[in-house]
């Protein structure tokens, strides 16, 4: 089975064809499943850090995908992005279900992924600069560079347009650059 390899994307036309067929063709749904399972599982695991929970939430996401595809009102042609969105919602539900008081920030499980990503940064000033960013900015960078999502997928997870995601990503990188300058200044 494929891992979540960088740069591997399903051709959009192929995906649309499979989604259209999947309503009545198990093989088509199976192909979508085989392609997205390792990606969705990895996306979920990086946030919950627990295999059994990741399996449950991944199963939930695909169950919803199957139901949605079979539902008469299915109109979304960006299946991959939608699936990431469903998985992200499942993570949020899971995280919130374990808390009595819902925090408005960081209640979406993105903290663990952002932390793991930050830990992989091999320069101290970059790692420190990352910690200066807002939760939203870290999340954008994590989705793009750690989860390796494209603009369609990441914007679906965030519930914004592709253009808005591009702007947010640009701003996050700018903010990171600014924070690195600040780090360097502080250290001097």
């Amino acid at each position: 089975m494929d891992g979540p390899t960088s740069g591997s994307r399903m051709d959009r036309d192929r995906e649309r064809t499979l989604v259209a067929r999947a309503r009545s063709d198990a093989a088509a749904f199976g192909e979508l499943y085989d392609f997205y399972l390792p990606r969705i599982y990895g996306f979920v695991y990086r946030r919950v850090q627990e295999r059994s929970v990741a399996e449950d939430l991944t199963a939930t996401a695909f169950q919803r995908a199957l139901e949605a595809i079979r539902h008469r009102d299915w109109r979304n042609d960006a299946f991959g992005g939608w699936l990431y969105r469903v998985a992200a919602n499942a993570v949020v539900d899971h995280v919130r279900s374990g808390r009595r008081v819902v925090s408005l920030d960081g209640a979406d499980g993105s903290g663990a992924a952002a932390d793991a990503f930050a830990a992989a940064l091999d320069r101290d000033e970059l790692r420190n600069a990352m910690s200066r960013l807002s939760v939203g900015q870290r999340e954008v960078l994590t989705l793009r560079f750690y989860d390796d999502l494209d603009a369609d997928e990441a914007s679906a997870v965030l519930g914004c347009t592709r253009g808005t995601f591009a702007v947010r990503l640009h701003r996050a990188i700018s903010a990171l650059r600014g924070a690195m300058v600040q780090e360097t200044t502080d250290a001097a």
Binding site: H71, L104, L121, L141, I173, M180
Partner: protein
């Protein structure tokens, strides 16, 4: 264009982080296979890819016909789109004339899916022209030797379970809250319908002038609140929440209740001023009902002159106290010295299925000293 060095650093870090977690972040093979089987078994019967093949006892009984049978099977497999060819160790469950060509669903072989005697030796030359060989979920009129694996739906109508629906007309939209379905039927999803009269039949697609406002469909049993943000301010709307099974049949319904949304409320000017180590923001708190308030989001932007949390602009803070009327943003954390920002405070009402704008201040334009 040269790739940004910072982009490269981040991408490399992402690769490293993924590699480090590769083993754990890869699904277990058994889990992947089990889930695949379970999902595909839920596809409609007609969705299964057919298998085409022969049973060994049949082959042994008619050895001289084996080459012909193999050729016919390959042709038939091509026509019905079979992905698997098989040789069974025992006869097919349905007694058929010898030799028989059997076509069955991959996951749920049923006697009714057996091809009708394509069957006699003379017929094997062109079995592919027999369209009835394609598996179909529609029960055939012929008696089958054993019961089908799935029980048919209970024919007697089951009384509808009751959902409790409360609606709140807020500034900016109507909040819909219904009770979780706890009936005995097979729950598939919720949908709430809307009308401008108090007539909403318990059916889908909507009838009698009712409409699906969108945004209330969910297959998650525990998600029981949504918003109708498309409702026009000043109009009275009637709503009925319903739960459905997978066939879109109503299994639970609420009574019809009404609400009137109001326009998005204006909170007036947003004050911004420099204080030691930061910027202080002050505003008039939202005075509407608590049922219409979830939190304040202080949206800001350098480029967007009308920053909006719901449109994806970043925010300085999220505040859950309705009485909050000020906030201090430390300099350098989000707002950077020397830069000009557009800022406004927005009141958001969040539900299980999305939030909407309830109220907001005017946009303040502020340059951080």
């Amino acid at each position: 264009m040269q790739p940004d060095p910072l982009d490269r650093l981040l991408a490399a870090a992402g690769d490293r982080a993924r590699s480090a977690s590769d083993r754990d972040a890869t699904p277990d093979r058994a889990f992947a296979a089990d889930l695949r089987d379970r999902l595909l078994s839920e596809m409609p019967d007609g969705a299964h890819t057919p298998r085409v093949g022969w049973s060994l006892p049949h082959l042994f009984r008619m050895p001289r016909l084996v080459p012909l049978a193999v050729a016919a099977t390959l042709v038939l497999a091509g026509v019905v789109g079979a992905r698997e060819l098989y040789v069974a160790m025992a006869d097919h469950p349905t007694p058929t004339p010898v030799p028989s060509v059997a076509v069955e669903a991959t996951a749920e072989p049923t006697p009714s899916l057996t091809a009708e005697p394509v069957a006699t030796p003379s017929a094997t030359a062109e079995p592919t022209l027999e369209p009835t060989a394609v598996p179909t979920p529609v029960p055939t009129a012929k008696p089958t030797p054993k019961p089908t694996p799935k029980p048919t739906p209970v024919p007697t109508p089951v009384p509808l379970a009751i959902l409790s629906l409360s609606v709140t007309g807020c500034n900016g939209g109507v909040v819909l809250d219904w009770s979780k379905y706890d009936g005995a039927g097979p729950f598939n999803h919720y949908t709430t319908l809307r009308n401008t009269t108090d007539s909403i039949p318990k059916a889908y697609p909507p009838q009698g002038g009712a409409v699906d406002p969108g945004g209330t469909y969910t297959t998650v049993l525990e998600k029981t609140s949504a918003v109708d943000a498309e409702a026009a301010a000043g109009t009275t709307y009637y709503y009925r929440a319903m739960a459905f099974n997978a066939e879109d049949e109503v299994i639970a319904a609420s009574s019809i209740v009404s609400a009137m949304p109001k326009p998005v409320a204006a909170l007036g000017a947003l004050g911004m001023s420099a204080i030691a180590d930061g910027t202080q923001l002050t505003w008039t708190p939202y005075a509407g009902p608590g049922a219409c308030f979830s939190y304040y989001k202080i949206a800001y932007s350098e480029e967007d002159t009308t920053p909006s949390y719901l449109e994806g602009d970043p925010y300085l803070a999220a505040l859950g106290e309705q009485s909050a009327d000020s906030f201090v943003s430390p300099t350098g954390e989000a707002l950077v010295s020397g830069k000009t920002y557009y800022v406004r405070v927005q009141v958001i009402r969040a539900t299980d299925l999305g939030g909407f704008l309830v109220a907001q201040t005017d946009v303040a334009t502020y340059t951080v000293p």
